[in-house]
């Protein structure tokens, strides 16, 4: 029996998409482990014991002040060293929804500068939380999570109130130059700014991004909610060969095997 890649599913107060994320990783052939941030702070568990870090969705600390902010402050205050080493060891990191917000607020996304924030995810243009399935197109060729998926049309759910990606011009320039935009909201495969296909008004229809190494990845939609065919709202209407969220996790696990 080969050693399965072990995944740190990071939890804290208000985390709530941890179980489905763990399930997605186990379907993809990895061994997920729930790790509370307190366990990393106390030294009971070590981030270095894992090959993949997954920060799930939810409302960490109630999303008080700003979504993912309090957890980002906690990670920067106590786990900066552990996270730096993890990233330096070229181990993949994925943040979904609230996890994406945390990655952006720690500065890991989009430019992999821990402690230095260059972008933000802010209130949806609609002014409210939104839960619906939308169309997405992977557009990057160097993010390890979406490898081989470029140009395909994905159907995944979003469920958030603060998903509008925004950055200063300089950062947007870097995002473009380094091809960091990984996932975009589309309508019939064309980029869209129209509500609700672009559910939050995100600039350049950005739904997900990676860092320059392609190893740190964050996205607002929930790939872990579409890893079996019967999770799709219209599975009764259409044949689903392969659930659209699963390859993202399989890619990560396959990459981790090369570590």
């Amino acid at each position: 029996m080969p050693n399965l890649a072990s995944v740190c599913i990071l939890r804290t107060d208000g985390t709530n998409c941890d179980e489905e994320l763990a399930f997605a990783f186990s379907l993809a052939g990895a061994k997920p482990d729930y790790v509370h941030v307190n366990q990393l702070r106390s030294g009971e568990k070590k981030l270095s014991d894992y090959q993949i870090l997954g920060i799930p969705g939810g409302f960490s600390y109630g999303d008080d002040v700003a979504s993912g902010k309090i957890l980002a402050v906690e990670l920067l205050s106590f786990l900066k060293q552990q996270i730096s080493s993890f990233v330096a060891a070229k181990k993949p990191v994925i943040g979904i929804c609230n996890g994406f917000q945390v990655l952006v607020r720690t500065g890991l996304l989009p430019l992999s500068r821990l402690g230095d924030m260059h972008a933000t995810l802010t209130n949806n243009d609609s002014g409210h939380f939104e839960c619906r399935w939308i169309e997405l197109t992977p557009t990057s060729n160097h993010c390890i999570f979406t490898k081989g998926m470029e140009g395909t049309k994905l159907s995944l759910p979003i469920a958030h109130g603060e998903g509008k990606f925004h950055a200063d011009n300089d950062t947007f320039k870097k995002i473009k130059e380094q091809n960091l935009t990984t996932l975009q909201y589309t309508a019939n495969s064309k980029l869209t700014q129209a509500y609700p296909q672009n559910p939050n008004g995100s600039l350049y229809a950005i739904a997900g991004l990676c860092d320059p190494s392609g190893l740190i990845f964050g996205m607002m939609p929930h790939p872990e909610r579409f890893v079996t065919p019967y999770q799709h709202p219209n599975w009764r209407r259409q044949m689903i060969d392969k659930p659209h969220g699963l390859p993202i996790f399989e890619n990560a696990v396959n990459y981790a095997k090369t570590l």
């Binding site: 208000g14 600390y61 209130n123 929930h222 890893v227």
Partner: protein, 953 residues
């Protein structure tokens, strides 16, 4: 509390103001409400400033907090200790009242500590609104009252507070002299103390204290008032009933007797916080549905949020703890376009109520990570005095942990989760009273603010402790607070409480306040002392506060100490059995409603659009999209499916085990208008609708459990007569299908008294919820048509021409015969549907309810992107509207690949082939070979989607 001595400069409250750099969607949303809802044109633009007040830190530390926590340069900018905007034409600031818990404060304190700013001792946040344009002071008041502030929990801040910490010394417990009081003085005491006990009950208490020759303490009186309140004691449901002069079995007994007969799939019923049915593979499926009408009427956001929080805790606090997997919400309001003049004094406008109640349910469920995937909203003018806010929750529990726990002598009593404050004092007794113009100002302390994250981490700890086998018994702190939770848990085992050990939000609470406070997010657990260390280790790891507040004594008393004083010593027997059984008279008189005029149809498209656009029929999608219905990854049949994912389904199916196909289904039914016309047949309708909704997706009705919620006017003779009939209807349904009610709740205070003493009875609501297992969730159907050229069949006995109380004749008018459900024929029909759906032969199924077959067909066609061509010939010589708009529950439209499928599955039940689906996307109806009308589906869809789009934009 000890306050460290400080220098003066440190004690100052520092003010930080944060403003968005660009357009702020929240401000834009408020602005659009000001313009569209309030019709105030004078406000041209609006800016919102977040204000943080920070106590105990220096200005340098404030800057540090601003840079690292409270502000982000990309989105906003800040100033310290000065105004950020000086050019507004009008300005106002809204903050929480002192003592109301601001959930954000705890997070800011934590993050400040993480950043090394440990000296921050208190923090508060509020909003400043800066108005530009020419609004008058009156406009600003209207904006405040209708949109920005709820007076019960928020204030307009005129000047900065001097301190953010609440100080105070707990007053001692007092004895209350009652031994010598006259009858009228007893009544006055009950009124002044907000006990809501009647004279007879007060006299029983007086007699008891005379017999033990002492005066009661305030804590004792409060304990009795809580336990004996209608809310907790269900006095009407337990009462000896005299119906039309003849004695009948008490209501609760009738229900329980029926449950006993049909308990094959029941794991636990009526003894715990929720009922538990068998699911599969050693797992139980628990359900509880609650009402939070009174709190929601005066503070809709907090009332609805804590309603959800409370019903989640009921699930969590069942057996030895369950995981919540589904949340539901059913609301009744007055129409959102009610004119201001129609609004009774002291009541909030239905449009405001609707938006705020939805926001409350949204924020609590989403933050807890519980999918809210089933619900409905009903509108009727008579809800203008008080809405019905019904919230349900369903859980997953291992069968071996599903029985109500029994504490043993010596077990520790532990309070865990949130701290205790003054919020929610007298919630239980307040809920039991009728509403008046003063309710909103007098009862503000009965309203609570929720903190979903507190409840989430507490749940995480409970499930971990359950799986480690540490929980002997558990219950939640709901109505009546500790007094009810502990009093009930210790009914057999006896209790000794040390009240000073309960952690408080702030000092100064009197013992009785601690004892009956309804502060949210608190659970009480019984733990074997040997497990104490392990239990506290779990709580510590998950940031959950827990404290031992007492133990089970094995004596038959409820003894409460505060420091060294005994503040309550009541025998359990008197507390639980001392309440005299009420004798109540019931007699329902058939109301005479004016016979409604049948609408004359001059234009079919117009009539059809009117019905589809009625508030009671229209699409609620904009609301459902505010709820996370996909969290947990378990959604198998979501609320909306179809080509454009905008066609509603009958009920929701989740697959709680991600690696299995075991399904759990939840649905419900209610119809306040029919209940008002005829309590019996209206209730049969509600229960049938609940069952139909789950059967329509493929459930086997024989495995289902039912939950009743009676939201009724004050039980005078007439209303109690109606309640008796409604309950008989429930029993008839239970007997017909041989399935049990396993949980329920009655809320008998749907009465409003105008200042001139005129009484408005709010329509009686029986909400029935149905829930149960689905053996294989892959064998279920949605409501959207799957193809054109399919055969359409009507299954069930449609009560043709029964248009009383229908949308077609307008819900305000009651005249005419209401639809009677063919109960006897339904078991066979439900069985046939189940077999048909499981076999895969039925492509789509949707039941008939509000709006009749016309609405059913339209919704199915919206989902399928196809049209419909039907003939009414199988109904004989009738007016088309008598068929199309009859709202007979227990009837279904099914989509079949061919007519032979109908013969195969529906040979023994009422079944009529009525037409086909068509490629052409219009709905065509013919009779006797003649086309009556053809209407484009798109026209109907626009009318159907418009009303809620206008309110939830």
């Amino acid at each position: 509390m000890t306050v460290k001595p400080r220098t003066t400069s440190e004690r100052v409250i520092q003010e930080l103001r944060v403003l968005s750099n660009g357009l702020d969607p929240r401000a834009e949303d408020v602005l659009s409400e000001i313009k569209s809802t309030l019709g105030i044109g004078g406000v041209i633009s609006l800016k919102m400033v977040r204000v943080y007040r920070l106590q105990g830190i220096t200005e340098t530390e404030v800057k540090n907090l601003a840079d690292n926590l409270l502000s982000e340069a990309l989105s906003n900018h800040y100033v310290i200790n000065r105004q950020i905007l000086n050019d507004a034409d009008k300005k106002t600031e809204v903050s929480y009242r002192p003592g109301v818990m601001n959930p954000e404060a705890a997070s800011i304190l934590k993050a400040a500590k993480d950043l090394g700013i440990g000296s921050l001792e208190a923090v508060d946040s509020s909003w400043e609104y800066h108005f530009y344009g020419t609004p008058s002071d009156k406009d600003i008041d209207a904006i405040l009252d209708r949109l920005l502030r709820n007076k019960t929990v928020e204030i307009v801040l005129k000047e900065s507070p001097k301190t953010l910490t609440i100080k105070g010394k707990s007053p001692a417990s007092k004895s209350v002299p009652i031994l010598e009081l006259s009858d009228s003085e007893l009544e006055q005491l009950s009124k002044d103390g907000q006990f809501f006990l009647n004279l007879e009950e007060m006299k029983v208490i007086q007699e008891y204290y005379r017999s033990i020759k002492r005066e009661p303490t305030d804590v004792e009186l409060e304990t009795l008032a809580q336990t004996w309140s209608e809310h907790c004691g269900h006095k009407t449901f337990k009462a000896k009933l005299i119906v039309d002069g003849k004695e009948k079995t008490p209501l609760i007994k009738r229900l329980m007797q029926a449950t006993k007969k049909y308990d094959e799939n029941v794991i636990s019923a009526f003894v715990d916080n929720a009922g538990v049915m068998r699911l599969s593979d050693g797992w139980g499926f628990s359900g509880k549905v609650e009402t939070h009408n009174s709190p929601s009427a005066i503070e809709p956001y907090g009332g609805a949020a804590t309603g959800s929080g409370g019903v989640f805790r009921d699930i969590i606090g069942t057996g030895q703890g369950a995981k919540v997997i589904v949340s539901t919400d059913m609301f009744c309001f007055a129409p959102p376009d009610l004119s201001d003049g129609e609004l009774p004094p002291g009541c909030l406008h239905p449009r405001y109520l609707l938006r705020r109640v939805v926001a409350g349910v949204r924020d609590y469920g989403n933050r807890m990570g519980i999918p809210t995937n089933n619900g409905s909203i009903h509108f009727h003018e008579d809800f203008k005095a008080k809405p019905s806010v019904i919230v349900g929750a369903y859980g997953l529990i291992p069968e071996e942990r599903a029985q109500k726990g029994v504490p043993k002598k010596g077990d520790l009593i532990i309070a865990m989760g949130g701290r205790t404050g003054r919020d929610g004092i007298h919630g239980a007794t307040f809920s039991s009273g009728e509403m008046t113009a003063d309710t909103i100002s007098v009862n503000s302390s009965a309203v609570q603010i929720g903190n979903a994250i507190e409840e989430k981490r507490t749940t995480d700890a409970i499930l971990a402790a359950r799986d480690a086998g540490l929980i002997r018994a558990i219950t939640d702190c709901g109505a009546g607070g500790f007094s009810s939770a502990v009093g009930e848990m210790g009914e057999e085992a006896g209790v000794l409480i040390n009240l000073e050990k309960a952690p408080l939000k702030y000092p100064g609470l009197a013992p009785w306040e601690i004892w009956i406070s309804e502060s949210q997010e608190r659970m009480v657990v019984a733990i074997d002392p040997k497990d104490e260390r392990e239990f506290f280790a779990i709580c510590g790891k998950l940031n959950v506060e827990a404290s031992v507040i007492g133990s089970f004594t094995g004596k038959k008393n409820l003894t409460v100490m505060y420091e060294n004083d005994v503040v309550c010593d009541l025998p359990m027997s008197f507390l639980h059995d001392g309440l005299p059984q009420r004798v109540m008279q019931a007699s329902w008189k058939q109301p005479s409603f004016a016979k409604a005029k049948m609408p004359v149809i001059s234009d079919w498209e117009e009539t059809y659009q009117r019905v589809m656009g009625d508030y009671n029929v229209c699409s609620k999608e904009p609301i459902v999209r505010l709820y996370d219905h996909g969290v947990q990854g378990t959604s198998n049949l979501p609320p909306f499916t179809g080509v454009d994912s905008d066609a509603p389904n009958n009920s929701s199916v989740v697959t709680p085990f991600l690696d299995k196909h075991i399904g759990a289904v939840v649905g419900h039914g209610l119809n306040p208008v029919l209940n008002k016309i005829d309590p019996y047949w209206g209730s049969v309708w509600a229960a049938t609708e609940a069952l139909s909704n789950v059967v329509a997706v493929g459930a086997d009705y024989r495995k289902l459990g039912l939950i009743d919620n009676f939201i009724w006017p004050f039980p005078d003779e007439d209303s109690l007569g109606a309640l008796d009939m409604s309950l008989d209807a429930c029993i008839a349904v239970s007997d017909t299908f041989k399935i049990p009610f396993v949980s329920g709740k009655d809320s008998l205070s749907s009465t409003y008294r105008y200042p001139d003493e005129t009484v408005l009875k709010i329509p009686p609501v029986l909400c029935v919820s149905a829930f149960g297992p689905i053996e294989d969730a892959r064998k279920t159907v949605s409501s959207d048509f799957k193809s054109h050229d399919s055969v359409l069949a009507l299954i069930g006995k449609l009560d043709v021409g029964a248009l009383g109380g229908s949308i077609f004749v307008e819900t305000k008018a009651y005249g005419g015969r209401l639809p009677k459900v063919d109960l006897e024929g339904l078991p066979a029909l439900f069985q046939a549907l189940h077999a048909g759906i499981t076999s895969g032969d039925i492509l789509a199924c949707h039941d008939i309810s509000e709006g009749g077959m016309a609405a059913t067909l339209a919704e199915m066609s919206f989902g399928g992107g196809v049209g419909v061509d039907i003939s009414l010939d199988s109904f004989g010589d009738v007016h088309p509207e008598e068929v199309l708009f009859s709202e007979t529950a227990g009837c279904f439209i099914v989509e079949l690949a061919s007519e032979s499928v109908a013969a195969k599955h529906f040979a023994g039940v009422p079944c009529a082939i009525i037409g086909t689906t068509t490629k052409d996307q219009s709905i065509s109806v013919s009779q006797g070979g003649k086309n009556i009308f053809s209407v484009a589906s798109q026209h109907l869809k626009s009318a159907w989607q418009q009303p809620m789009k206008e309110i939830f934009h």
